[in-house]
């Protein structure tokens, strides 16, 4: 039943996309050939359907009947209007058929891989990102009947134009339905490459390029998982394809399709926004006028704007999770963005010149491989000799330019159709060589071959028993640790409770609120509490004192003046205290506290807890400050700042506000002492976790701090509930963390 539901969920969603796309294409007056109608209409319909689902989610009416009615309406309307039907074969125009032998050879290869892909997509979904954030957000939105601010998952801020199509599919057929929906994009991508070859009168090149893309190992595993890269590639290629159709038919209405799809590129993945640049430039170039380009721009805005507005409203940053220095917000730390983007630029590869080998042959570091035949990708440049080749390589260059922001192999998928077509065009005169290349690619991409030369993320075989649920879903999923950890949480944590984890679990399989350590500012702060508890370098270890002759001041601030060449170094203030004649000033309700940057956490430096610390969450730089307005003039003669032990580069100066409202230096005798906290930082950390609504903690044996807590959970005010599959689940015990 689950197998059928998965298939039904995906089929229904795909049918709705196709139906909607067919109707729109008909009304735009596009004359599509029989072979290109399904891929082009499906992707165009997906774009428009995504807007409809977005509206349903924004209105918070994502109930099954609503989603079901929406899909049904798209299918029914397409059937009723007759737009569903494919055009007659004679529309094929100047198509040239492939020789029968090649057709059979390519057909058999394609069929074999389709069986491989279908069963993998149909099997229970356990891909790393699919079983975590892609589908956990889908499941969360469905539980909430629509969008809800998810401030603790940075991935929720990425545009989700493809993921949102998983919502109706998931509502009907759960996780596998989402993966099957993505698989439909893979089929559409391959078909569109195939039909583009025919459109330009080079069917062998089209067929060969379609297979080069379709058989690529990273395309295979990504396209059969609940990811979105292959869908993005299909959308990107559709923009190009519709632009070529418009160029040949010159019907202004087709510009609407180009604009919608170019905007859908942004809605599907930020990095694909360059296709809007391409579309605008292409239309402007071909018409020598700005008007048509404005039509494209306007339509693209319809698709992209909802995602920009959503992030602006929920996160306070329209382009979250990026540009957080400019759109300061409490939900994503600048340091996270810097660390994350720095990692994505190299994945830990020391030498980026190894990328060609990594992306085509090895794939272990960059999480997937294109296949060894793409070592011949430079042959694509030979296509520059032809007009068709040049037209392919222009958008290819644009898309490739964004790749260096994320060098994961998946991020090459959107450029792959262009590269493959250009390679095939270049080699078409040497047909046997091209056929040999495709055959070798097929042989090298089959799972049994892949295990001989790579340990990268690839498909492992045909899991037909799992797909058909002959092996029960639970049993299949239980072979994966990430799933078992998710079950551990579901089995032991009551509904509505929050669980902190330090690294990924299959959150799509738990309904509990799981905070993954790095995925949001709040999560990072909770993780930081743990670090302060066990890591002495994070604990208060230095006390900076600024002493001066007693002075009456109303506003006083500590300005940080140091710098650090190590980007990870921050300014960490556990407590900031003011004294007069040796007596600490009590922190009165009328005081007003400010910090720059990260003003949202300033209270952490004034809460009398050594487990909490205000952190800059940015690299140490001069000009950072913490400021206090006492509410009235106050005699003060000393300021003490309690810093983390690791804060070697921090330098501070005091400033007081004068009667004219200007900050003036407050000369002080400075002293930096080591300090020891007499209390229990671990217990204080446990208290803070609970005070922030985190009642449970799941730590894998390999997680930072796991050993310290496992040795004596009571020191942290915690109780270990269960240990299984290399992970411990702790309950933060209220009796132990309350003093």
């Amino acid at each position: 039943m689950k197998a059928l539901a998965a298939l039904a969920g995906a089929a229904f969603t795909v049918a709705a996309c196709y139906g909607l796309g067919s109707m729109i294409a008909a009304r735009l007056g596009a004359r599509l050939r029989r072979d290109e109608k399904f891929p082009l209409a499906f992707v165009l319909g997906a774009g428009v359907l995504h807007l409809a689902v977005f509206a349903v989610m924004a209105l918070k009416i994502a109930y099954k009947p609503v989603l079901f009615t929406m899909l049904s309406a798209c299918v029914a309307a397409a059937l009723a209007t007759g737009d569903w039907r494919l055009p007659a074969a004679e529309d094929a125009g100047r198509d040239r058929s492939l020789p029968v032998g090649i057709r059979y050879l390519f057909g058999i290869v394609a069929a074999a891989f389709t069986v491989l892909y279908l069963f993998n997509a149909w099997a229970p979904e356990i891909s790393p990102d699919g079983s975590s954030y892609h589908l956990s957000l889908v499941a969360l939105y469905l539980r909430a009947r629509g969008f809800t601010p998810v401030l603790t998952n940075v991935y929720s801020t990425l545009s989700g134009g493809v993921d949102i199509l998983f919502v109706p599919a998931f509502a009907i057929g759960k996780h596998s339905a989402a993966a099957l929906t993505h698989f439909a994009f893979l089929i559409a991508l391959a078909l569109s490459v195939l039909s583009y070859g025919r459109r330009i009168g080079q069917p062998l090149a089209g067929a060969a390029a379609a297979l080069l893309v379709y058989l690529s190992p990273v395309v295979g595993i990504d396209g059969t998982s609940a990811y979105n890269d292959v869908a993005v590639a299909a959308i990107v290629f559709s923009v190009f394809y519709w632009a070529q159709i418009w160029d040949s038919q010159r019907d202004g209405r087709i510009l609407i399709a180009i604009g919608l799809l170019a905007g859908y590129c942004y809605a599907a993945k930020y990095t694909a926004f360059v296709m809007l640049v391409y579309a605008l430039a292409f239309v402007a170039w071909r018409t020598r006028r700005m008007g048509p380009a404005m039509v494209v721009a306007g339509c693209s805005l319809v698709m992209a704007a909802p995602w920009i507005v959503k992030d602006w409203i929920y996160i306070g940053n329209p382009v979250a999770p990026f540009a957080n220095r400019y759109f300061q917000n409490p939900n994503i730390h600048v340091s996270f963005e810097r660390n994350w983007t720095a990692y994505l630029r190299n994945y830990g590869l020391k030498n980026l010149w190894t990328l060609p080998i990594e992306a085509t042959l090895r794939g272990e570091v960059t999480q997937g491989l294109l296949g060894p035949v793409f070592l011949a990708a430079p042959l694509a440049l030979l296509a520059l000799r032809s007009r068709h080749g040049r037209r392919l390589l222009a958008p290819c260059a644009l898309i490739l330019a964004t790749y260096f922001g994320n060098v994961g192999t998946r991020f090459l998928i959107p450029s792959l159709p262009f590269v493959a077509l250009a390679m095939a065009l270049a080699l078409e005169p040497a047909a046997p060589l091209l056929i040999l290349l495709v055959t070798a690619h097929a042989a090298a991409s089959w799972p049994e071959s892949l295990v001989r030369y790579t340990q990268a993320w690839t498909l492992q075989g045909i899991p037909y028993k799992a797909a058909l649920r002959i092996i029960p879903e639970e049993r299949y999923l239980n072979d994966h640790l990430e799933y078992r950890w998710a079950r551990l949480i579901d089995d032991h944590v009551p509904p509505g409770k929050r669980v902190l984890v330090r690294s990924e679990v299959a959150t799509a399989y738990t309904s509990r609120d799981v905070l993954t350590g790095y995925e949001g500012a709040f999560n990072e702060k909770m993780q930081d509490l743990l670090d302060v508890g066990w890591d002495s370098s994070s604990q208060p270890g230095k006390q900076w004192t600024g002493s001066f002759p007693e002075r009456r001041v109303r506003r006083l601030r500590v300005v940080q003046t140091g710098t650090s060449e190590i980007p990870e170094r921050q300014w960490d203030v556990h407590e900031l205290r003011f004294f007069d004649a040796g007596v600490e000033l009590p922190r009165l309700a009328e005081w007003r506290l400010q910090a720059r940057p990260n003003p949202w956490d300033v209270q952490m430096a004034f809460d009398n807890s050594e487990a909490t610390r205000w952190r800059s969450w940015e690299t140490l730089r001069p000009g950072m400050s913490i400021e206090v307005d006492f509410g009235r003039e106050q005699p003060v003669d000393q300021v003490r700042v309690e810093l983390s032990d690791i804060d070697w580069n921090v330098r501070m100066r005091l400033q007081a506000m004068d009667a004219n409202g200007r900050w003036t230096p407050l000369p002080a005798r400075e002293e930096l002492r080591q300090m020891r906290y007499a209390g229990s930082v671990r217990r204080a950390a446990g208290y803070e976790l609970r005070a922030h609504g985190v009642d449970y903690l799941l730590l894998k044996d390999t997680d930072y701090g796991a050993q310290d807590i496992a040795q004596d959970p009571a020191r942290w005010g915690m109780t270990r509930l269960v240990y299984a599959s290399g992970a411990s689940l702790y309950h933060v015990n209220p009796n132990q963390v309350n003093p």
Binding site: Q328, R592, Q603, E671, R673, Q674, Y677, G679, S680, Y687
Partner: protein, 182 residues
């Protein structure tokens, strides 16, 4: 064109200016203090904020370089002990080049509650660290203990005179652990 650019500039300004910076905050609820399990003893770093309250004699009130202090002939500290078991006397210090030129080789004698724990001779200047187990019978749990380190020769300042200097003290105290047998 100028108008369009101007509008674009204004929009960008609004976009960037629409910050989400909050109003200043009031101090939060003050957190409770959590007792730590008592330690048997401790090592006093000369930069520790509360270190002066442990001084008995011959340690400078002035912290140098945020880490160390000059001593006199017999620097002495007082520590409260929660246990007398498996305690190790630990001292981190340095013989200064400048004083060594006058004193030559020196001998440092370590005392616990006025019992001589051991003597060590240093024929060259430089940083040193000594660790030596303390017999349990010299100490009483839940009582104070005095720790001293006496240098046999102090540096005497030239006329008109000043404070004689012993050595550079960085850390001194007791630690509960077993030393590896060599």
């Amino acid at each position: 064109m100028t108008l369009r650019l101007g509008l674009l500039g204004v929009m960008c300004g609004i976009l960037c200016g629409c910050g989400n910076l909050p109003e200043p905050y009031a101090p939060p609820t003050q957190r409770p203090f959590f007792e730590a399990p008592p330690e048997a003893a401790r090592i006093l770093n000369m930069a520790d904020a509360d270190v002066e309250s442990h001084f008995v004699r011959d340690i400078s009130a002035e912290l140098q370089g945020n880490t160390w202090r000059w001593t006199g002939k017999r620097p002495t500290i007082r520590l409260h002990l929660n246990s007398n078991q498996k305690l190790v006397y630990s001292i981190d210090f340095a013989i200064a080049e400048s004083t060594f030129q006058q004193t030559g080789p020196v001998t440092l004698s370590l005392f616990v509650n006025d019992h001589l724990l051991g003597s060590f001779r240093y024929a060259s200047p430089g940083r040193q660290r000594v660790e030596k187990p303390v017999p349990a019978e010299w100490l009483e749990p839940d009582e104070n203990a005095t720790l001293a380190a006496e240098i046999d020769k102090v540096w005497t300042p030239p006329p008109p005179g000043g404070t004689p200097l012993g050595f550079i003290l960085i850390a001194l105290g007791l630690e509960q652990r077993e030393l590896e047998r060599k």
